[in-house]
Symmetry: C2
Subunit: 415 residues, 2 copies
Amino acid sequence: MMSVLDFLQRIDAGALTPERAVREAREAIRAGDDAIRAFVSVDAAAPVLREGPLRGIAIAVKDIIDTADLPTEFGSPIYSGWRPKADAPIVVAARRAGATVIGKTMTTPFAYLDPTVTRNPINRDHTPGGSSSGSAAAVAAGMVALAIGTETGGSVIRPASFCGVAAVKPSYRVLPTVGIKTFSWSLDTPGLFAATVADVAFALSALTGRSNVRVDGRYPLSPRIGIVTQDFAEAPEPASLDALDRAARAAERAGATVRRASLPPVLSDAFRIHGTVEAFEARQALSWEMDHHRNALPRLLRAALDAAAAIGVDAYDDARRTARRARRALGEVFAEHDVLLTLSASGPAPRGLASTGDSRFNRLWTLMGNPCVNVPGLDDPSGLPLGIQVIAAFGEDDKALSAAAFVEEAIYASR
Amino acid sequence: MMSVLDFLQRIDAGALTPERAVREAREAIRAGDDAIRAFVSVDAAAPVLREGPLRGIAIAVKDIIDTADLPTEFGSPIYSGWRPKADAPIVVAARRAGATVIGKTMTTPFAYLDPTVTRNPINRDHTPGGSSSGSAAAVAAGMVALAIGTETGGSVIRPASFCGVAAVKPSYRVLPTVGIKTFSWSLDTPGLFAATVADVAFALSALTGRSNVRVDGRYPLSPRIGIVTQDFAEAPEPASLDALDRAARAAERAGATVRRASLPPVLSDAFRIHGTVEAFEARQALSWEMDHHRNALPRLLRAALDAAAAIGVDAYDDARRTARRARRALGEVFAEHDVLLTLSASGPAPRGLASTGDSRFNRLWTLMGNPCVNVPGLDDPSGLPLGIQVIAAFGEDDKALSAAAFVEEAIYASR
C-alpha cells in the first residue's frame, strides 16, 4: 500500500516531487483499477500543488461528495452525469491542505446496502464492504494513499476492516457533511482511509487543523483498554472474536491495562433504535427521489424507504431520546477506560459481491457519535483481513487515534 | 393578510376551489410585488393539487432552499441561474401536503446580514428584516398565506416581528435542513411564516405529520409564563420593552400566571459564543465560494468570513461545550415555566434598507434549538409592528404554539 507519511517523508527529503508522487498514484490506478473497479471517474487535469501538509498526496473521494470538476452521481442512474456547482467543504479542505483530488470512488447507491461492482483487493472474490466500497478498495489496492468515505451505520469502519486498511470515523461533525448527499442527518459522518493509523491521523489533522490528533510515536505508555463484545448484537463469527482476543493480548503484552468493559443497558436500547432514526430521516432525505424516480431506486433501498413509512414521529422522538440517554451513559463508561476495543465487523469480508456485509458491530457507535478507528494487521487463516475497532469518548479523537496506533504497533510486534 | 385556515375553511365549505385560491395569490403577487420585491421568481406552471391538508395554499420558499423547477440562487450572483437537481425535502413535504410552490423569495446573500431590496409592506421606508426578507414580506403584504424561511441567528423571528406576521422556528431538526444552503450546521433552522399562530401551527403539522402542534382553540387555561428580558444583550428600545409588558399584562388578565424568570449565568455565556459557532462553521460551509468567488461575496459576509480565520478549533470546541451546558441548564428553567415570553427584536423595523436589523434577542434561542414563536398584534405609535416571542422547552413545539396562540388571543382581546 501507499502510505501518506512515507510519501511526505520522501518529498520532504527531496527524494520525490509532489508531481512524481501523484503520477505514481495515476499509474497505479491505470494499472490496477480494471480489476478492482474502485473508481467512478479520474480527473486527468487535477492540479498538483507544491504547498500544504498533503502536497503530492492523491486523494480519492466517495461519489456522494460534491465536486465541481467531476460528476457526482451518488451511485445512482438518477444522477447520471450530475455536476454540482461547488465542491463540498471537505474537498475544499483537502485542496487547501495541498492534496490532489484525483478521482471519485464507487459508492453503493445513496450509500445504502445495495452493492457496487467493486472487488476486494485482498481477494477479488469477496466484497470490499460498503457503502464506501471504492474508497476502501482504492487504498487497499495501493492506488492512492488517502481516501474519503462516509458512514451512517458502519460504511467506513466495516470496509476498512474487510480490506485491511486503517480508517478513522471522527467525532460527529469534526469533518463537515456540507455538500455530501444526506441519508440520515443525525448519523452521516465522513471518515478517512489510509494504510496506517498514523496516516489517517495525519490526514485528519491536515483537513481539520486539529494538530493534536496526529500520532508521532508518542503513544500512551499504558492505556486503560476496555474490551467490549457487543453482546446485544447477534454473535459474530469465531474468527472475529479470536482477532479481538489476539489484539487484546498483544496490547496487554505491550503494556496496556486490559479489562472487560460493561456497557449500561441503555446502550443495548440505543443499538436497537439506530434503524428507526436512520430510516425516518432517510425517508425525508430521499423524498424527492421517491416521488420522481421511484423505479430507479435499487431494491434494498426502495424496500427500506417503503418500510420506513410505518415509523411515526413518536417512535422517532422516542428513539432520539434513547440515543441522548445512551450518549450520556456512554460518557460515564470512559471514566474507567481510556478507550474501548471491540470488533470492527462480524467477520471477514463475505464471499461474492451480492452483499456488502453486516454493520451490526458499527451501528451503535455511529449513533453515539464517538470517534472510532479501524486498526488493521490481523487476518483469518485464509488471509482475509480482520479489523479491530478502537473507540474513545466523544470529542477525544486524539485519544482514539493514539490508542489505536498503540494497538496497531502491538499487533505488529506480536506477529 | 391571507390566512391558511381561512382559505382551507372556504375550500372545505365549497365556497372556494384550490385553483381559485392559488389564483388569488397569483393576482396578489402580480398586483403587489413591484412595490415590495419579495419574490425572486414565480412559477407560472406550478400545479394546483386537489388533495392534502394544504391544497389550494400557495407557498413561497426562501431562495436558499433547493427547487428543481425554479432557479436557486442563494441571493448571490455566484449562483445566478443555478438549477439544483432535486427539491429540498421541505419542498417535497409541502407538495405532498397539497401546497402549490408558487415562487422563491428574496434572501440576503447566503442568508447573512447584507440586505436585499425587499421593502417592509407595513411601511415601505423600512426594512422587512432578514435574512428571510422576502418570505416575511410576502405574507405581510397578503401575497401568499404561507412562506418558508430559515434562521441561523434570528432570520425567521426578527423579520416576522418587523412585518407583523406570525412565525414558528420549530425545535432544531423538526423541519429538515437537507437541500438548504448551509451557513452553520449547528444553527440553521427552517421556519414558517403565516398570518396567525394557528396558521403556522397547522402548516407545521401538515409538513411534519406532527398533529399535536395544531392549535384549535384548545389553549391552556392558565399557562405559567416566565418573562425574560435577556439582560445579557444590550438594552432594547423602550417600545419593545413596552410591548413585552403589554403582552404580559394581557396574558395575565386572560388567566396566565406571569412571573419573571431568571436564566442561569451559563445562558449569558452561551449568548456570547453564538457567533463563534456560527463563524467557525460558516467559514467551512462557504469555503468553496471564498476560494473561487471571493470578490463576488458581499461586504459584510466577506468581512465576517475573513474575521473567522482567527477562530481556532479550541475556541470552537469550548463554545460547543458551553452551548451543551447551557441547553441542559435551560431545560431546568422549564420545570418552573411552561413557556418563556421575551422580545422578538430590539425594536421595530429600522428605517431604510441598509440594515436588516439586529438579531441579539434571537441568537441564544437559535443556539439552544428551542421552539420559538413570534406573536404579532402589537405595534409602536407610528404603526410599526412589535413582535413578542414565546419559547418552550426543546421538543415541546406543541406547547410553544398553544401558549403563543393564548398570548395572541389575549393581545387581541386587550386592544
